[in-house]
Amino acid sequence: MSQISRRQAVALLGALGFGAAAAACAGPGGSTKPGGATGPSAPATGAVTGKVSFAHWRGEDKAVFDELIKRFVAQHDGVEIAQDISTSNDYNAQALQKLRGGSIGDAFATFRGSQFKNFTEAGVYTDLKGSKAVGNYQKGLLSAGQSGDNQLGLPYQVVFPMPMANLDLFDKAGAETSPKNWDAFLGMCEKLAASGVIPISWPGGDVGNGGQLFNCMIANNAPVDDMCAQIEQGKLKCTDDWFLKMLGQYKDLKPFVQPNATGTAVEPAQNLFSQGKAAMLATGSYHLAAVRGLGAKFPIDLVFPNTTSDGNGKYEGAYNATFILGVNSASKNQAAAAAWIDFLSEPENAGYYANQTAQHVSVDKVEYTNPDLKRLSPWLQKKTALAARFQFNNLDVRNAVEASATAVISGTSPEQAAAAAQKIVDERL
């Protein structure tokens, strides 16, 4: 091998030095916090013109937003709105980095939970407190977008992460849709099974959708409302009796989910339900439009797996307020972005969005004309628990805790599954 000359060595060191210096310039924490040291401020005011990027993850809502954009543009001359849509997983992983640059996402949406928390810490939000839009929302549904005294985002959608029921199959089996306690719920499943259908279609092979059932199962089992936050903090444990009881109830469900449920992705699970092979789809009301799209013609309602033994549970269901709308503090066109959020928050426009996408909204005085939304509207008045799984800020912890339920359905004992989950939690305390 040839020797390196002194000159070559100097050149190599120079290149490394250049690289190191450049790396240091772009090192961690090198950029400033968009929100500034004083915390979030209200969006800038001004003319509603120019280009606005609206970043979100709901590709299935694109056509509905396109129509709303058309209506918005008709009201404001010289404004353009482009949708920047990523898949939900990519949005979860990459949106923060993209939005901080300010080039996309003048207006944007976030998930409730860890993403909202991270965006808040990164100072991406402006404060919408006192804005015209806030006044249009139901007060009780705004908390998911609050941080301290600031209203950073507006939770736009209200979804019910509870099993959807094919009422025709329930009628045929003579099963009740409002089981008062756990035994009644299992009795209902037995009747459905006896009628020759799969009682529950559960996408156990899909972490995100399979985990929605967890919101119902934990709501009345946990000793406190912030149970998932406390598990993450080490104050509650997966090996506690109440958690083991919940896993035991998952074990009770095993005979009532489709065979090989842990390998079922969400699309096949939807198909089992929409084709009338399964009586319930254990995901949530956010799949209404999808199952209708797959040809489901039957009437649909929601069923809450009531896990109590005496029927005296604190909650009658579970809901989530998500798709939290915000205005980017790094945006150069905050006035137009804020106007777009105001527009979406008007009851007429929110109603259009809700009825077209078959999802309830947090906006007050919305008239639901979609038959499915009409049928499910009574759930808006029930005492429902805010979906617990979004309390987890650490995604590894959330996945581990939810995976314990999947493990039980695949045959692991509740004790073993709980211990495995708690190990991951303990490592991250």
Partner: protein, 318 residues
């Protein structure tokens, strides 16, 4: 017009030359390079420095911090991230184990399968060419498409695998839903995806072997196996070297296939190093994810080097 290094210097030389003072003559080596020419590779060096050197150095810099990816504040934590990866993070060690198992499975199966295919399809007959095209076809698909095709095949309810098995009264099980088997099913997909490509490498190697060697071996009474052992295998060693190295790196980085087939984040049974790193980044642990990336890089280098040594595909000192 062409410029030769040192031309200007040589043109000047006669001016300073005087017959009375030969010591003053400045002789330049004909191989001496004009320093200005060092400027020519500068753009390429800048690109390499900016896109390769800098991110790599940055990864080392991030790896010793607890930076979350967006805060202005962070702490230097020394080697804590590396220690955590190996001693306090069972998800990382699980991903590492899965990855090594996956690499081992795929390297053995894919190398063997592609070699067998190549041996069967070496001749340039019409049938062979058609079959080669057929086996090569999956390679031109995107990994996301492959993931979705196989996700459908493995679906226990409507999937192709169970539909076929049910016709003979067998239930194939949950496939990807069975934690003990899931990795093997993904390995099958990976082998199906890339074997055609490796087959082409082997065919090129096989077609370069002189036919006279086989004729001579046959005349000496060598069996087919002896011919393979003594002629084919040594002659395809360079091709094997390429196949093994490429398959190793490919299997370590089967990120898109795993994410497509198992969803994001994949469950623990299908988590490999690249998906674990992605999950750690998504979990806003940039410092720790950078440390994992460096371990990942070192792991690929180590495994590739070990393979080459163990298979004696690289002569000593090479």
């Amino acid at each position: 017009m062409s410029i030769h290094p040192g031309t200007a210097a040589r043109r000047k030389a006669p001016d300073s030359h005087t017959p009375d003072n030969p010591a003053k003559v400045r002789r330049r080596s004909p191989t001496r390079v004009n320093p200005a020419l060092y400027l020519f590779p500068l753009p390429a060096v800048a690109v390499v420095a900016f896109f390769l050197v800098m991110p790599t150095l940055q990864a080392f810099q991030y790896a010793i911090t607890d930076w979350n990816g967006f805060s202005a504040a962070f702490n230097y934590v020394g080697v804590d991230n590396f220690v955590r990866a190996f001693t306090k993070d069972s998800l990382f060690t699980n991903a590492l184990t899965n990855n090594l198992k996956f690499v081992l499975l795929v390297v053995i199966a894919q190398t063997a399968f592609s070699l067998v295919l190549a041996l069967l399809l070496t001749k340039n007959s019409r049938g062979s060419i058609l079959l080669r095209a057929l086996f090569f076809f999956p390679t031109i698909l995107s990994s996301v498409s492959v993931a979705f095709i196989w996700k459908f095949i493995y679906d226990p309810n409507f999937g192709l695998a169970n539909s076929v098995l049910r016709t003979v009264g067998v239930d194939g099980g949950a496939y990807l839903g069975n934690d003990a088997q899931a990795l093997y099913w993904v390995a099958v997909t990976q082998v199906w995806f890339h074997s055609g490509q490796m087959m082409v490498v082997y065919i090129a190697g096989l077609q370069a072997i002189p036919k006279e060697l086989y004729e001579a071996a046959e005349m000496d009474g060598a069996s087919k196996w002896q011919q393979f052992k003594s002629i084919t295998w040594p002659f395809v060693a360079p091709a094997t070297s390429i196949v093994v190295a490429y398959t190793t790196v490919q299997s370590f980085k089967a990120f898109d296939l795993i994410l497509g087939i198992a969803g994001n984040p994949p469950k623990a049974a299908l988590d490999i190093l690249s998906t674990r790193i992605y999950s750690t980044f998504a979990n806003s642990e940039f410092g720790y994810a950078a440390a994992q990336s460096i371990i990942f890089m070192a792991m690929i280098a180590l495994v590739t080097w070990l393979q080459r040594r163990l298979l004696r595909l690289t002569p000593k000192g090479d």
